[in-house]
């Protein structure tokens, strides 16, 4: 079920709240949050490979706050151009970079500067030269049309009020036949109007 943003929802405030929340996840991931973070969570609850996570810098994996596992959907082929929409501190991005190898490219897009900094530093520490991190958000991807083989994302679309626009952007940048491998949240019950307007429920 897609949850659409109410017409009078303060989208600018939501964007600011999301940036504040995830800047805190980047700089103080051991703080108090209403969602899990870190490599132990990713391995035990989402099925990530413990050894692959252990090979990444803790500064990257400690800020992981995904809700699913896009890598479990299908193998990302060597040589592919992959984009991680809302890459955060870079856990999924760096795993993708390892999979595409030196002939591929892994491009992360995130609107939170503190997260981008972690991802860039993490790629450098791993010696991954096929990684690029760009500023941007899901509704305006800084990428050319039909330029990407695989789009991954994890726990990001649920933070975007205008989901149709975000998905249209994914369609725009993918090559025909390209794959979207998306981790996100679904809601099985209809939410009340009050819940839909509760900004705290949108930021996690």
């Amino acid at each position: 079920m897609a949850v659409m943003c109410p017409v009078d929802f303060d989208k600018a405030r939501l964007r600011a709240e999301v940036q504040t929340m995830y800047a805190r996840v980047a700089t103080a991931p051991d703080g108090t949050f209403h969602f899990h973070r870190g490599p132990a969570y990713a391995a035990t609850r989402l099925g990530y490979d413990h050894n692959e996570l252990a090979a990444l810098p803790l500064e990257v994996t400690s800020s992981f706050a995904g809700v699913a596992n896009p890598h479990a959907i299908g193998a990302i082929p060597a040589g592919a151009v992959v984009v991680d929409v809302g890459c955060g501190a870079g856990t999924d991005l760096l795993l993708a970079a390892r999979r595409v190898g030196p002939t591929g490219r892994a491009i992360g897009v995130d609107m939170t500067e503190a997260m981008r900094k972690r991802a860039i530093e993490g790629a450098a520490r791993c010696g991954l030269t096929n990684v690029e991190v760009r500023a941007g958000d899901a509704t305006r991807l800084p990428l050319d049309d039909r330029s990407v083989d695989v789009v991954i994302s994890n726990g990001v679309l649920n933070l975007v009020p205008d989901k149709e626009r975000a998905v249209a952007e994914i369609a725009r940048v993918l090559k025909p036949g390209g794959r979207a491998q998306i981790g996100d949240i679904v809601i099985g019950e209809v939410l009340s109007d009050d819940s839909l307007r509760d900004i705290d429920l949108w930021t996690g």
């Binding site: 609850r45 989402l46 036949g177 390209g178 979207a180 998306i182 981790g183 679904v186």
Partner: protein, 48 residues
């Protein structure tokens, strides 16, 4: 979410895995009440 991807021109849209990602958090009871889960979605961009 499946409908949004299908409307955007994707094919083979499917939820492939589900995760109780809020279990053990302060929002566990809310997540269970509203049946909130993490999911993997797979989709292929149409066209040739």
């Amino acid at each position: 979410m499946i409908d949004v991807f299908a409307s955007a021109g994707f094919t083979q849209v499917a939820l492939t895995q589900r995760y109780d990602c809020f279990d053990g958090t302060s929002k566990e009871s809310t997540a269970r009440r509203y049946r909130v889960q993490g999911v993997n979605l797979s989709a292929v961009r149409a066209g040739s």
